[in-house]
């Protein structure tokens, strides 16, 4: 016997071999009839008579064939194949409609799939680590604001002890959070280039479960003896990020063991990380990370204070709550044992949450928005199909007269809508592939994992699901509508220009109203976000980024003492100032909206409790910085080149710090615990984020300290960015021959990057809102112009009875606006209900912002009026004579 599978296959094959099998049966029946005829002739019949008797005896050949087909094939699939053939024929005939529907569904599905890919990458797909669910992020001082790295990071010895004592963690890895972007200068192998190096604990990659694709992990000796850190003289080793290996070394498979020249020091390459793991992409979105070096976790680095960002791997069977409980207790003990160390107040969260937490609300919003867009798409297509169904009444009537059952008609209609939806899905998939590729290549967007967004199997499955659901959804109403019309009714209706049944009009009106309401919600959401975005851009930064650029010019190793370094700075500034067009030039170790660190900043002579010692963000700068940045000096003076190693230690504070420490007292002349005297007060700068006010901030002269990790030259000039780069390189060539200018960045890019996640959401949501508006206007247009064409006779009669063209036009426009008004009323209520959910994404705007709602009302009314205008004009031009003659 055949297996069920074989049988099924034979049956499916039978469907596609219909004609061949039919022919075979035909031949068989023919031979049967011939034999029967022979027999009849033998019995004495006339040949003609014999054949007729035989034909009768065998029975209806067509019905036998039909039954035969049913037995040998799968009737369901065969019907489907029939429906599909019919559908393609219909759609080919109505090509414009098919194209339009495909386009709408395609845009909708393209948008959904793109957003789904992002959600899939950031939220659904596991992180590219081994067993990512047991990884936790260990944050210090959970109460502090989101961007102050100094309080969030952990001192080295706490982590070392945590490893020893904790029973919850099988391992704790960490990276040094105060690495500098572009800290290492790569020399040789082409243009010199600034690279970003992340110092990681020896076990960092093993804890994450990331294996190098080439080479090996760091060893303990390499970490503890790394000569990159003070006093060590062990080997210098690095691991390469995949992108650097590919870009700079042409994916050289024999790279392990070769050396790389970083700032004039040769380090050995011991490993290359896999493409799936990109540190920047995951931990510091928007930053390109190139190299990893092992970081020594010892008493010496412990003295650096809070520096480490830590990731722990939970032991099997330990949940995060119990790990939190244990770690908190351990931290309390450790705090007591080390009164001289900074505080440790650990807070554990799943690593995935740490990584996608900040963008999660925005993604959920975008997901919801795309869902709304799909609903509008469905409503629109339902409407189109209804209109089309009305013109197809005769065809349907004939089909049902020929015996098509109601089920069969519904099936035919649904097949059509699903086919349309699948055509759209194909287009949508192409759009989604393009869209995700574009998103993945967005640089400078501070959104985690964005670079790994792509269309994968899950997205593909999602697309198919969406296509089917969409097809059924938008096809259902029209299908039911069409098949519910009786044969009698539709034949009677078909020739008369009378209005359609009430139900029909009602459904189409309801569809348009819901389209408008949904568009309303999207426009309000997008409006609120755009408004917030404008508010953010409007924020007083405290500095003027226009016409300023920054360039890393860290002194080489050859400037190995403070005097030489100061001389280098003097020379660099002098040479820069000589470039024609340069108005101001200065140095800084930390530009705004970048990395942050804070130091203790107590006033001399005051006594503070341990937890209350004030701290402030630190910037180490040269004279002229405030001019180059456009920060106003409010009181006192700027630094001068004479504030050097041998003169009195000075500092400048910002307004907030002056207020926080001294209230109404005069801050000038006050002395800090560090013995520095305050010589000036400057305006606040938004250095954490545009949305966040400044904290205390202090500026130290670069010539009085060595405590900077990087030096940026900030230049304000009348030159364009393209003009200034070669001139800077030329000017600095004598003192810094290997200077890479590739990383010169206008200060505006710092601001752009800071607002990039917001811009991302605004762009997408704005796009959806526009799409929704277009769809809604199309929906309105379709319904109104349909109703005008249905009412041609009625309007003709009205005009014959004296209605003016203007009156008719007004009538139609009012009809349009009535629909729009109902839709907007529903939309406003819905928006008010859901706008609260947006609150976390808003800035400087209330979720019930009246301006946004009014703007939405105006926009939608205009759109509706425009959509209604064309049919209204057509109605007003109806010639009563012609309209009535056609009756």
């Amino acid at each position: 016997m055949w297996t069920p599978l074989e049988q099924a296959l034979a049956r499916i094959r039978a469907i596609f071999a219909v004609s061949a099998l039919d022919k075979e049966l035909d031949r068989e029946l023919e031979s049967h009839i011939a034999m029967l005829t022979d027999e009849n002739i033998r019995r004495g019949m006339e040949p003609d008579e014999a054949r007729r008797a035989a034909l009768l005896r065998v029975g209806g050949r067509e019905s036998t064939k039909e039954l035969h087909r049913e037995v040998r094939g799968l009737p369901f699939l065969e019907t489907l194949a029939q429906d599909l053939r019919y559908t393609f024929r219909t759609l080919r005939r109505d090509f414009a409609f098919a194209l339009f529907a495909t386009l709408i569904v395609g845009l909708g599905i393209g948008a959904s799939c793109t957003i789904f890919s992002v959600i899939n990458t950031l939220i659904l797909r596991p992180l590219p680590f081994g067993d990512p669910n047991s990884l936790v992020w260990i944050k210090n001082n959970p109460g502090t604001d989101a961007k102050d790295l100094s309080s969030q990071t952990i001192q080295v010895n706490y982590l070392r002890e945590l490893r020893e004592l904790s029973k919850s963690f099988s391992a704790v890895g960490a990276y040094m959070a105060f690495y500098g972007i572009g800290d290492s200068k790569l020399i040789g192998q082409g243009e010199p280039e600034r690279l970003t190096t992340i110092p990681v604990s020896q076990n960092f990659f093993p804890v994450l479960g990331v294996e190098p694709i080439l080479g090996r992990q760091f060893t303990e000796e390499e970490a503890s003896g790394n000569r990159n850190f003070n006093g060590n003289n062990g080997p210098g080793v690095v691991m390469l990020n995949y992108t650097l290996w590919q870009r700079r070394f042409g994916s050289d498979p024999h790279i392990i063991g070769k050396t790389i020249d970083l700032d004039g020091q040769l380090d050995v390459i011991v490993g290359v990380l896999p493409a799936s793991f990109d540190f920047g992409n995951i931990f510091v979105p928007g930053t390109k990370v190139d190299l990893y070096i092992p970081f020594p976790m010892n008493d010496q680095t412990n003295r650096w204070g809070n520096t480490m960002s830590a990731v722990g791997r939970l032991n099997h069977g330990v949940n995060i709550a119990s790990a939190q409980a244990e770690t908190s207790i351990l931290a309390k003990q450790m705090n007591k044992e080390h009164p001289n160390m900074n505080g440790f107040d650990p807070f554990l969260s799943p690593l995935s949450q740490h990584i996608n937490g900040t963008v999660r609300p925005a993604l959920i919003l975008l997901g919801a928005a795309v869902g709304v867009v799909m609903l509008i798409v469905c409503a629109n297509l339902s409407n189109l199909l209804l209109a089309r169904g009305a013109t197809r009444q005769k065809e349907i009537a004939i089909r049902s007269a020929l015996g098509a059952t109601k089920m069969r008609l519904i099936r035919q209609m649904l097949t059509e809508s699903v086919v349309l939806s699948f055509c759209g899905a194909v287009l949508g998939l192409i759009l989604a592939i393009l869209g995700t590729r574009m998103l993945a290549h967005l640089s400078g967007f501070a959104i985690p994992m964005l670079a790994s967004v792509r269309v994968d199997g899950i997205t593909l499955a999602f697309t198919v699901l969406v296509a089917v659901v969409t097809g059924l959804f938008f096809g259902l109403v029209p299908a039911l509508q069409i098949s519910s019309r009786t044969l009698h009714g539709s034949l009677k209706d078909a020739n008369r220009g009378s209005s359609q049944g009430r139900g029909h009009t009602w459904i189409r009106g309801a569809l348009v109203v819901s389209e408008i309401a949904l568009a309303c919600v999207l426009v309000v959401g997008a409006g609120l976000l755009v408004h917030s975005f404008l508010q953010v851009l409007d924020v007083n930064l405290g500095f003027h980024p226009e016409h300023s650029v920054a360039l890393r010019i860290d002194p080489d190793r050859s400037y190995d003492n403070k005097e030489k370094q100061n001389a280098y700075f003097n020379e660099a500034l002098r040479r820069t100032m000589e470039i024609p067009g340069v108005q101001a030039a200065a140095l800084s170790d930390a530009l705004p909206l970048g990395r942050n660190r804070s130091w203790g900043a107590g006033v001399k002579g005051r006594v503070y409790a341990r937890d209350n010692y004030p701290d402030a963000y630190v910037r180490i700068i040269s004279d002229g910085y405030f001019k180059a940045m456009g920060i106003p000096i409010l009181k006192g003076r700027d630094f001068t080149p004479d504030d050097g190693t041998n003169s009195r230690k000075v500092l400048i504070v910002n307004e907030s710090m002056a207020r926080n420490l001294f209230g109404t007292q005069d801050p000038l002349g006050q002395v800090m615990d560090s013995n520095a005297i305050i010589v000036g007060v400057v305006g606040d700068v938004r250095h954490l984020a545009l949305e966040q006010g400044s904290g205390s901030e202090m500026y130290l002269p670069i010539r009085q300290t060595t405590d900077y990790a990087s030096v940026d030259l900030v230049v304000r000039s009348t030159l364009t960015d393209a003009q200034i780069a070669p001139r800077l390189r030329e000017a600095l060539l004598p003192i810094s021959p290997d200077l890479p200018t590739s990383n010169m960045r206008p200060l505006q890019t710092l601001v752009d990057k800071a607002v990039s996640p917001r811009r991302f959401v605004v762009m997408l949501l704005g796009g959806f809102a526009v799409f929704a508006l277009i769809l809604a206007s199309l929906g309105i247009y379709a319904v109104i112009s349909y109703s005008v064409s249905q009412r041609t006779q009625e309007i003709g009669i009205r005009m014959a009875l004296g209605a003016t063209a203007g009156g008719v036009q007004k009538n139609v426009l009012l009809q349009t606006l009535r629909l729009a008004a109902i839709g907007m009323a529903i939309g406003i209520v819905t928006s008010l209900l859901f706008a609260g959910a947006l609150r976390s994404l808003l800035f400087g705007v209330n979720s019930a912002d009246p301006a946004t709602f009014v703007a939405m009302l105006v926009i939608l009314t205009c759109v509706a009026a425009m959509a209604g205008y064309f049919p209204a004009r057509r109605a007003s031009r109806i010639d009563p004579i012609i309209a009535l003659r056609s009756e």
């Binding site: 016997m1 034999m35 065998v58 209806g60 037995v71």
Partner: protein, 114 residues
């Protein structure tokens, strides 16, 4: 689709075809139809075409096999013959049939209660 009543008919027709092929060996559709009519069965009373539905069904179940050949009157025809699994099926069905008809027969022979 197929009604329960048709199923019974189908079943009996299947059994008759199998039995026919079992006893006379290879035969074409016309021959089988003739044979069944000669026995006096009513299964094909309305139209003989029905036999081909039965035949394709049996072929799909691999109880019979089919091949084109030439009849005694030199006509092209498709010849069917019973397969090994067809014989087994026939045996099973026959046994089943006999048991059922035996039971039914006994039931029908019960003396009516007066």
């Amino acid at each position: 689709m197929a009604e329960p009543k048709a199923d019974i008919l189908q079943g009996t027709l299947d059994l008759m075809v199998l039995k026919t092929l079992d006893s006379i060996g290879t035969m074409h559709g016309y021959g089988i139809a003739r044979r069944i009519e000669q026995i006096g069965a009513q299964a094909l009373a309305v139209n003989q075409g029905t036999i081909y539905l039965c035949l394709i069904r049996l072929v799909q179940k691999k109880w019979i096999s089919a091949a084109w050949g030439t009849s005694e009157n030199n006509r092209k025809a498709k010849f069917y013959s019973i397969t090994k699994s067809g014989r087994k099926q026939l045996a099973d069905e026959t046994e089943n049939w006999e048991r059922v008809s035996g039971v039914i027969g006994k039931v029908l022979q019960l003396a009516p209660r007066r």
